[in-house]
C-alpha cells in the first residue's frame, strides 16, 4: 500500500477509535442544525418565503452541507500545525523518507472522512426530519463528493496557513484570519448570494468558497458539475501552495535544543 494511503487509513482508524470525540462533534453539529433551522425559518418567513431564491428547505439543506464540510476538519487545525512546527514535532516528522506535508494531509483526510461519514448521515437525517426531503436527490448525491472536496481544500489551506509558523514560530494570527475567511467569504455563515453583489463575486472567486459554499449550493438543489470542477481546480492550487510553503519552511527551519 502507498504510504499516503496507509496514512489515510491510519487517520480514519484513529478517528473511529475515539468514539467519545466523534459523539461530541456530532452532538454539536446537531445543535447547530437545530438552531440554524429556527433562525433561517424566521428569516425566510419574514421575507415572504424566499431569500435570494433560497426557500426554507433549500436554505437548510445548504446549511447542512456547508457545515458538514467545515466541521469535517479539526477546528483548530491551523493553530495545531503552527504549534507542531514551533515545538519541533514537524522536525521529527522530517526524518521519514516521505513528504511531511503529504503524509500529514493524508492522515488529516482520513480523520476527516470518518467524521464526514458520521456527520453527513446524521446531518442529512436531522435536516430531512426538520425540513423534509432535499430539493433534489441528485443534488444531495452530488453534494457528497463536494463535501469531501471542500474538506480536502480546507485541509490543504490549513497547511498553507499553518506553515506560516516556519517563519513566525506560531500560527495563532493566521488561524484567526483563516477562520474568519471560511466563515464569511467561504459561505459557512450565509450563502454568498446573500452578500452585497461585489462581495459575492469576490468571495466566489476565492478558494474559501470551495470549502463551504460550493457543497452548500449543490445540496440546496443546484447539481452543477462545473462547481465540482471549480473545487478541483482550487484544490490542485491549494495542494501546490501547501507543498511549496512546507518545502520552503523545511529548508529554513530553525529549531533550537531538544
Amino acid at each position: 500500500m502507498n504510504p499516503y494511503l496507509a496514512g489515510w487509513r491510519l487517520g480514519f482508524l484513529r478517528t473511529i477509535r475515539s468514539p467519545g470525540d466523534m459523539s461530541v462533534r456530532i452532538g454539536f453539529f446537531a445543535i447547530i442544525l437545530v438552531v440554524m433551522t429556527a433562525l433561517w425559518t424566521a428569516a425566510v418567513d419574514a421575507n415572504g418565503g424566499s431569500l435570494h431564491g433560497y426557500t426554507r428547505t433549500s436554505l437548510l439543506w445548504y446549511v447542512f452541507a456547508a457545515q458538514t464540510a467545515v466541521l469535517g476538519v479539526r477546528p483548530r487545525s491551523v493553530e495545531e500545525i503552527g504549534d507542531e512546527i514551533g515545538s519541533g514535532t514537524v522536525a521529527v516528522q522530517m526524518l521519514r523518507p516521505v513528504s511531511v506535508v503529504g503524509l500529514r494531509m493524508s492522515i488529516d483526510m482520513g480523520e476527516a472522512c470518518a467524521r464526514l461519514i458520521a456527520s453527513f448521515t446524521v446531518g442529512a437525517l436531522i435536516t430531512w426530519l426538520f425540513v423534509g426531503a432535499p430539493p433534489s436527490l441528485a443534488a444531495l448525491g452530488l453534494a457528497a463528493p463536494a463535501v469531501v472536496l471542500g474538506c480536502a481544500a480546507n485541509i490543504a489551506s490549513c497547511h498553507a496557513f499553518g506553515g506560516i509558523a516556519f517563519w513566525l514560530l506560531d500560527a495563532k494570527a493566521s488561524w484567526f484570519f483563516f477562520q474568519k475567511l471560511v466563515f464569511l467569504p467561504g459561505g459557512m455563515l450565509i450563502p454568498l448570494e446573500l452578500l452585497p453583489r461585489p462581495l459575492e463575486l469576490i468571495s466566489f472567486a476565492l478558494p474559501f468558497a470551495t470549502m463551504a459554499y460550493v457543497p452548500g449550493r449543490i445540496a440546496s438543489g443546484h447539481p452543477d458539475p462545473l462547481l465540482l470542477l471549480w473545487q478541483l481546480g482550487w484544490l490542485a492550487v491549494l495542494l501546490g501552495m501547501a507543498g511549496a510553503v512546507f518545502a520552503a519552511g523545511e529548508r529554513r527551519l530553525q529549531v533550537m535544543g531538544g
Binding site: 496514512g7 491510519l10 484513529r14 526524518l95 529548508r251
Partner: protein, 310 residues
C-alpha cells in the same frame, strides 16, 4: 568504514533584537561503522542541534558532514531511509492506536514488504521483549514500555545508524538499565552504529565505548569511555538519611559536602576506596534509614575536563 563524519560543523541561530546564538561552533569528528558513541554535554551544549544537522533537519551555517556517505541536509529523505532516530521527548507512536498499527504505517513509509515486516517485528519484539505490548493502545503503556515500542519503530527499517537523543529521559532506574542493555544488544547483534546523546553519566558508562563531550558548542573531550572512567569518573555521590541527626559523618574514602539535620551528602573517591566498602562502613557505624548512590553530575565532569592539565 566511516559511518558519520563532521568537519568544522557550525550552526548559528539568529535571534530577534539580539546577538545570534552559536549553538555549534565548528565541531569535527568521525565515527566508525558499528561504533557506540556517547555524545554528551550539559543542557544547551549543542548536542541536539548537532544531531539535527547530522540527520538533515537543520542546515548548518558552515562546515560539512556526511552520514553513510550522504550529505544529510542535501538528501534528507534518501538518508532517512537508512538511519533511525529516537528522541526521548518526542513520540512517533499514535496515542489512540496500538503500536502495531503505527508499525504498519512505518512499514509502508519505508516500503518494507509485508513478509519482511512481520519477520522484523517478530525479531525485534523478541529482542526487546516487547511483543506483548504491540497490540495494546499506546495510551495504556507505561513510559518504559512505550520507549521499547519507540525503539522497535526506530529499528523496523533496519537502519545502519541509530541516533538516540536523550532516550532514557523520564525512565525509572530499572527501565533505564533495561533500555541501555537493549541498545547494546542491537549494536552487537545487528552491527548498528549508535550515536547517543544524554546528560545521564550512567548512559555513557553502560552503553558507549567512546565518548565525545561538547560544551558551548565546542568539542572538549574525545576518548574511550574506559579512559574517561579512569580519568574523570572516579567519584560517586552518596545521599544518606540517618535515624538521628549525627554531629558529623566521618568515613574513610568519603568527603562530607553537606550535612543538614538527618540528611548528609558525601563524595566518594572510588579510586581510593571502593564504593561497596564505603557503604559497608557507613551502615556499620551509623543508623542509616535510606541511602542512594549517584554519578557525579555532567557539569562536574565538564569542569574536571577544563581543569585538566593540557
Amino acid at each position: 568504514m566511516i559511518a558519520i563524519e563532521a568537519r568544522e560543523l557550525r550552526k548559528t541561530f539568529p535571534v530577534r533584537r539580539g546577538e545570534p546564538v552559536e549553538a555549534v561552533a565548528g565541531i569535527s569528528f568521525a565515527v566508525e561503522a558499528g561504533e557506540r558513541l556517547a555524545y554528551i554535554g550539559p543542557n544547551g551544549a549543542g548536542k541536539s542541534t548537532s544531531i539535527k544537522m547530522l540527520t538533515g533537519i537543520l542546515h548548518p551555517t558552515s562546515g560539512d558532514a556526511a552520514v553513510l556517505g550522504i550529505v544529510p541536509w542535501k538528501k534528507r529523505r534518501e538518508l532517512a531511509a537508512r538511519i533511525g532516530t529516537l528522541f526521548g521527548q518526542r513520540s512517533q507512536l499514535w496515542y489512540q492506536l496500538t503500536p502495531r498499527q503505527t508499525f504498519g504505517l512505518l512499514g509502508r513509509i519505508y516500503r518494507i514488504p509485508a513478509d519482511e515486516e512481520r519477520r522484523r517485528l517478530a525479531r525485534l519484539g523478541e529482542l526487546l521483549d516487547a511483543t506483548q505490548l504491540f497490540d495494546q493502545p499506546v495510551r495504556g503503556l507505561s513510559l518504559g514500555q512505550r520507549m521499547r515500542c519507540e525503539l522497535v519503530a526506530s529499528m523496523l527499517h533496519a537502519p545502519e545508524v541509530l541516533f538516540l537523543d536523550e532516550p532514557t529521559i523520564g525512565l525509572d532506574l530499572v527501565a533505564k538499565a533495561r533500555f541501555r542493555d537493549l541498545i547494546v544488544r542491537i549494536n552487537e547483534e545487528q552491527g548498528t552504529t549508535i550515536l547517543l546523546t544524554s546528560h545521564d553519566v550512567s548512559d555513557i558508562e553502560q552503553v558507549a565505548r567512546r565518548v565525545i563531550v561538547i560544551n558551548h558548542g565546542r568539542l572538549i573531550y574525545d576518548d574511550r569511555v574506559s579512559v574517561m572512567r579512569r580519568a574523570l569518573l572516579g567519584t560517586k555521590m552518596l545521599d544518606v538519611r540517618f535515624e538521628q541527626p549525627p554531629a558529623s559523618v566521618e568515613v574513610e574514602g568519603a568527603r562530607l559536602v553537606k550535612l543538614s539535620g538527618a540528611g548528609a551528602k558525601l563524595v566518594v573517591d572510588t579510586d581510593r576506596r571502593p564504593i561497596r566498602s564505603v557503604l559497608d562502613d557507613l551502615l556499620d557505624r551509623y543508623d542509616v534509614v535510606d541511602i542512594s548512590v549517584a554519578d557525579p553530575p555532567l557539569e562536574e565532569i565538564v569542569s574536571h575536563i577544563y581543569a585538566r592539565p593540557v
